[in-house]
Symmetry: C2
Subunit: 372 residues, 2 copies
């Protein structure tokens, strides 16, 4: 059989203040076209369908629309799991109904040991898990780390292997040996207790992973990250995005690249050099700018925005700390306030007033301080 492997859609993600929903829809259309063109028998989505546990309404509508299109309109069987960015409980809404239409979405470790069989292949759908869930499942407190946990899980899955079938694991975790990308995952200890070593995954013919956004983070013939379908941060600016087309017999994994809808560019130079309009096609792209000027340029961010409306970060080679800090401080504050504002308007039915927003910002700043 042949399937398409994608992951980390992060529907609803923003790049600083900029919504990516339109780009996410356009990127999805590329994935859909590839699936049709290559006549795949199923589509695997290895976790982080949403960017947040409580996605906003626009994100909920878009993801629902995309899944509807692939599954009910195009009739592709879907094999999906929840990632660490998803709320398993929220994402699980409707799963019992989905299964009647060959859309298999697993958000619960208890259901990871019942494979879904499509043609010659058994798919084991393992959602993102915490170690305690695995301890509970096996009633074994001696499981110390995620690698122990994964060893127990694969052994248990092995008991359900049909020897006449191929065996594919769909999972969402950090695989040891992979390089960490700075922005995509902040809670990972590299090579530490939270990594799974690839030897544990040897029983599978293929492991379709989600979690890391760079498909080159891991270099293994049968254990692969698809990476995210789009660049979601400046640290991903130089990555090629795409999907895997996997044939099970004979085994073959082929990389099919996706084109950026609005790319992220890293610019470095003097203000005088950079203060020129990019060609029309690149004007709505995202820009990370490093200014090499020695002298202070008043209101430089707004001046640059005339040329590059979507600046996501601005650094200065020579006065680095100051400007950069201001931006990243702003970013750190904006995100929870944005969440709270969103949350308030959705639960209360009206927006925070400016005065309320000021108070909320103050409170959140204090909360974040209190965290350290």
């Amino acid at each position: 059989m042949r399937f398409l492997h994608t992951a980390d859609w992060h529907i609803g993600k923003t790049l600083n203040d900029f919504s990516l929903l339109d780009d996410q829809l356009a990127t999805f259309k590329q994935i859909e076209a590839i699936a049709k063109d290559r006549q795949v028998d199923a589509i695997v989505i290895a976790g982080d369908l949403y960017d947040r546990s409580v996605p906003n309404e626009a994100a909920v509508k878009l993801l629902n629309q995309l899944l509807q299109e692939l599954n009910l309109a195009d009739h592709f069987p879907l094999l999906a799991i929840s990632g660490n960015h998803d709320s398993a409980a929220r994402l699980s809404t409707g799963t019992d109904w989905f299964a009647y239409q060959s859309f298999f979405l697993n958000t619960n470790i208890n259901d990871a040991f019942t494979p879904v069989t499509i043609k010659d292949t058994q798919f084991f759908l393992l959602p993102f898990f915490g170690i305690q869930e695995v301890r509970n499942y096996f009633n074994d407190d001696k499981i110390k780390n995620v690698n122990d946990a994964m060893a127990r899980i694969t052994t248990e899955m092995g008991k359900h292997f049909d020897p006449d079938k191929r065996h594919v694991l769909v999972a969402h975790f950090f695989a040891a040996g992979s390089k960490r990308t700075a922005d995509s995952e902040t809670l990972i200890e590299v090579g530490g207790l939270s990594a799974v070593t690839t030897d544990v995954l040897a029983p599978f013919d293929y492991v379709a992973l989600g979690h890391l956004h760079n498909r080159n983070a891991l270099n293994d013939k049968k254990v692969k990250y698809s990476g995210s379908p789009m660049k979601f941060s400046v640290s991903e600016a130089k990555q090629e995005k795409g999907v895997w087309i996997v044939d099970t017999a004979p085994f073959k994994a082929e990389w099919v690249p996706l084109s950026p809808v609005h790319d992220i560019h890293l610019l470095k130079g003097r203000f005088a050099e950079l203060a020129t309009k990019p060609e029309e096609a690149l004007r709505e792209d995202f820009y990370d700018i490093e200014l090499t000027d020695q002298e202070r340029i008043p209101d430089v961010l707004n001046k640059l925005r005339e040329y590059y409306p979507k600046i996501v970060s601005l650094h200065r080679t020579h006065q680095a700390k100051q400007v950069q800090l201001n931006l990243s401080k702003k970013r750190a504050q904006e995100s929870p306030l944005d969440l709270l504002t969103d949350f308030y308007s959705q639960t209360m039915g009206n927006d925070l007033t400016d005065r309320q927003k000021k108070w909320a910002e103050k409170a959140l700043t204090q909360i974040m301080k209190g965290e350290e």
Copy 2:
């Protein structure tokens, strides 16, 4: 045909600080038993499935479980709409898949004019709507109020009437002539621009309404509120809760009462009289207490809690203002903090620390002050 009419489940609602999830599940079991016993052909749920636009994870799981049980396990066709407490976008997740299993959930006015036919009856599922949505749908800015809107809607629905069928409207609004109950709906203007007069609803053989929690709020032979299946506030303490069993031919609407799992009791008397344990079966019930003592009793709320662990409100006949105000002030503050705490733990994955909670409380108090 025969169907069961219920509404206003408000899954996830709390009575002050007390979760009602267990009571909601137990009440659901009664509804399910009635549906089986009376062998209904369908179950109508007329809006407000959730209590909030962003329900917490436990509420999401419970509603999903209840609908799964009725539809996929018991094989009842379901006919449901979103109410004003639901987020239409969030609730709509999965609807396209639900429809394959005869679970018809409409959250969009655009889909209200395509009836669902079951046996001899056409059901028109009209979600809660804002007037602007109706103006947009008919491209008519002259629609002034909800009654105008509803007149346009029923005329349009009439065009899709099959004359050989019965016609049932499922809707969620305030019907003129109904009495307002104090706590259940706070945004309603009685008899004002936001009420629908029952003459507009004449074309239908039955109108299954949700919105008001008291089925006696309206007294009409064919336009009925089912009310909520449980008492959700002290103002509902004396209401009988239940469901309608409706036969279409010959027409008959029969009221079937539900038993309170934990009832709400209104007590009035002197402290010395009330300070006595209720019988065991009533101990976990909810209590609204009015104290008639003239003299001040120190720490009276905690003293009373020894006898009635679930006091939801406490008044004093003679020093009314003081105590009552403290409680209601507390309640007004608790609810947003509860929301924020919930929100934080779900999005951040861990609870607010006590210090963070203190800051959040302070900020929210200021926000609420800013509202006035």
